[in-house]
């Protein structure tokens, strides 16, 4: 009952914020595309995986949109429309998995550090100091370069760069919450450490972290796409927006006399990434404003 009225209040607050609503609409649209991918872009019968973009010949020169290829083709004749549609699934996978894994690791380590204190806390916090002293992207590039280029390794590296700030944030809130009386009461009732942490402390300290994480989804997607852009992501022909953009890099100057000869290879995936990130950011902004009235 309590959560229902909370959701209703949130919906009411959201209706007053057209930009946040726009964010929900953008992400909703991409969700529909991702769900309907097999209908929008049927997988060719002889394909090994739905995520492999069909190739129409081997001409290196990209082609403009046509009846056969709605968005045209990239270099080496990968169908851009197919890549964009199935790339939506890749984008969601990256956004949700990276933030989810970083959150889980951050929650686990941050709550333990805050709850137990002592050397566990000290070690962990010094470790996060070190990771946070790196320029994130360079560390991620090193991790992917060592593990070998692949989409999974891109996700691992971005999550590895992301979790320390979550652990720090949650630790601070756990430190404050663990002194509260209801924790003492739970302890007096004989609850175990694990139960106190999971049932009492984490639910009461997690909101700021969730707000920050919802604001981070956009930047996580950008970082992962940047790694793909640097050629560290999925192999050529895999449906991923970052990779499609990186395939356009040699063609941005167009043909002699016409700089926009291959505009589709840059603009279509570029605008998709932009809208996807914008949608998450607008949504995150809305969530933050509603949960943190100070910013209004």
């Amino acid at each position: 009952m309590e959560t229902k009225s909370k959701a209703a209040a949130m919906w009411k607050a959201l209706k007053k914020r057209p930009l946040s609503l726009l964010g929900f609409c953008i992400i909703g649209f991409f969700l529909l595309v991702a769900a309907a991918a097999p209908i929008l872009a049927p997988v060719p019968a002889n394909s090994r995986s739905a995520y492999l973009i069909p190739e129409d010949g081997y001409n290196p020169e990209p082609k403009l949109p046509s009846a056969k290829h709605w968005f045209g083709t990239t270099e080496n004749q990968y169908d851009l429309y197919y890549g964009m549609v199935w790339g939506t699934r890749t984008a969601f996978k990256v956004a949700v998995l990276v933030v989810g894994v970083a959150l889980l690791v951050g929650i686990f380590l941050g709550s333990i550090a805050g709850f137990y204190g002592g050397w566990i806390d000290e070690t962990l916090m010094r470790f996060t100091d070190i990771v946070l002293a790196f320029p994130g992207l360079v560390l991620a590039v090193v991790i992917v370069a060592v593990l070998g280029p692949s989409l999974d390794h891109v996700m691992v590296s971005v999550a590895a760069v992301q979790w320390p700030s979550y652990a720090r944030l949650l630790r601070g809130d756990v430190l404050a919450v663990k002194e509260r009386e209801f924790v003492l009461a739970a302890r007096a009732l004989g609850a175990s450490d694990a139960r106190i942490l999971v049932r009492h402390i984490i639910p009461n300290s997690i909101y700021p972290l969730l707000v920050v994480a919802s604001l981070d989804v956009g930047s996580v997607v950008i970082t992962a796409a940047a790694l793909s852009f640097l050629g560290l992501g999925a192999p050529a022909g895999y449906a991923s927006w970052g990779q499609l953009i990186s395939m356009s890099r040699d063609w941005i100057l167009g043909s002699p006399g016409n700089a926009f000869a291959y505009w589709n290879t840059v603009f279509i995936p570029g605008i998709a990434i932009f809208l996807f990130v914008l949608g998450w950011n607008l949504m995150g902004d809305g969530v933050r404003d509603i949960l943190d009235p100070r910013q209004r």
């Binding site: 010094r126 470790f127 002293a133 953009i245 890099r249 926009f260 840059v266 990130v277």
Partner: protein, 341 residues
């Protein structure tokens, strides 16, 4: 204050030690043969792979290798970067001024635009100007630098044939490497002016326009938001109401009273923003082929050039810790309440 600085300075080597250990540890996942292959330039030299491994001690246990590297560093020898084709110390000296110049050229407009429009946006809350500023800000931090960079290159370099990538044109390249060009500051635009060569300064500036625009558009959002929300908070406080009640003109209330206090978080954040720019130019430099630290560190990381990565990362970790220190000192400087405690 002195004690505070001393503690931070003590912290610096510890963080740098940690950073290098972590990097070194990560790179140990590669087999000695893979790490040795960096030194092999020609397939015919492959038979010498074992000699290379022995020569550089690549098969020794990791702590031993780290110790060897650390001893070299403490002797002032950062090693040789295969990707830059020069010693790491020389590479840093060659690439850092370029990155610094680009960062500086972007940072000053970011400060001016961010503070000016951030204030205005708060004063005219929910008016057209505020809405426009907020839309510019949110699109700015939603646009990946590589997407914006490619768009700009296509339009301004491809179509209009102005603002080329790189750091300078060929004739300026020859000029700056000639003996009659004096390097006073390392900032090439300034050096060209000091040498009295306005054409060269114009050329260098033209190369800076697109990467700087990219950085400004993407980074100004943070400053806009912080200034706006901090300004809104101050405008709601009692002393602002008092100032208004005693009949001060609105411009004095905004500029002399509220903004001075609102800038406290902005000032402290700006040193971190500067370092964020300095180490965040990785992608921008790569797209615009701008020969700075960022582009070098990406190439070094991609090709697993261990000394190169270590050198570039050491530099950014150093800058990061120093910036944190400056930020804390600025905080104490602009806010007397902190100084007194």
């Amino acid at each position: 204050m002195l004690k505070f600085i001393a503690r931070r300075l003590l912290f610096l080597p510890i963080v740098m030690l940690g950073v290098t250990m972590l990097l070194f540890g990560a790179l140990q996942f590669l087999s000695p043969a893979m790490r040795a292959s960096l030194y092999v330039k020609d397939p015919r030299q492959l038979s010498a792979l074992n000699e290379v491994i022995l020569k550089y001690g690549l098969n020794k246990p990791m702590p031993v290798q780290y110790w060897i590297w650390l001893k070299q560093v403490l002797h002032g020898n950062l090693g040789y970067s295969e990707t830059a084709k020069m010693p790491v110390a020389v590479a840093i000296r060659a690439f850092f001024p370029a990155t610094f110049e680009l960062t500086l050229v972007s940072f000053i407009p970011i400060l001016l635009i961010g503070i000016y429009f951030g204030t205005l946006s708060a004063v005219k809350k929910d008016k057209l100007l505020d809405q426009t500023t907020r839309i510019v800000a949110i699109t700015g931090y939603s646009l990946p630098s590589f997407v914006l960079g490619l768009f700009l290159l296509m339009i301004f370099y491809g179509h209009f044939q102005i603002f080329p990538p790189g750091r300078y044109s060929l004739n300026v390249d020859l000029l700056v490497h000639s003996s009659r060009f004096h390097h006073y500051t390392g900032l090439l635009t300034l050096d060209a002016l000091l040498n009295g060569d306005f054409a060269a300064a114009g050329d260098i500036l033209a190369h800076l326009v697109l990467p700087a625009t990219t950085l400004i558009y993407i980074s100004v959002a943070l400053l806009l938001r912080i200034t706006r929300s901090s300004m809104l908070e101050e405008l709601g406080k009692d002393y602002v109401r008092t100032a208004r009640a005693k009949g001060l003109p609105e411009s004095v209330v905004v500029k002399k009273h509220a903004r001075k206090n609102a800038l406290i978080p902005v000032v402290t954040l700006s040193s971190l923003l500067f370092i964020g720019l300095l180490s965040g130019v990785v992608i921008t430099e790569t797209i615009f082929d701008f020969p700075g630290i960022g582009r070098w560190s990406v190439i070094a990381a991609q090709q697993l050039d261990v000394p190169g990565v270590m050198g570039a990362t050491l530099l950014s970790a150093f800058l990061f810790v120093v910036a944190n220190m400056i930020s804390d000192m600025l905080y104490a400087f602009v806010d007397p309440r902190i100084r007194l405690n």
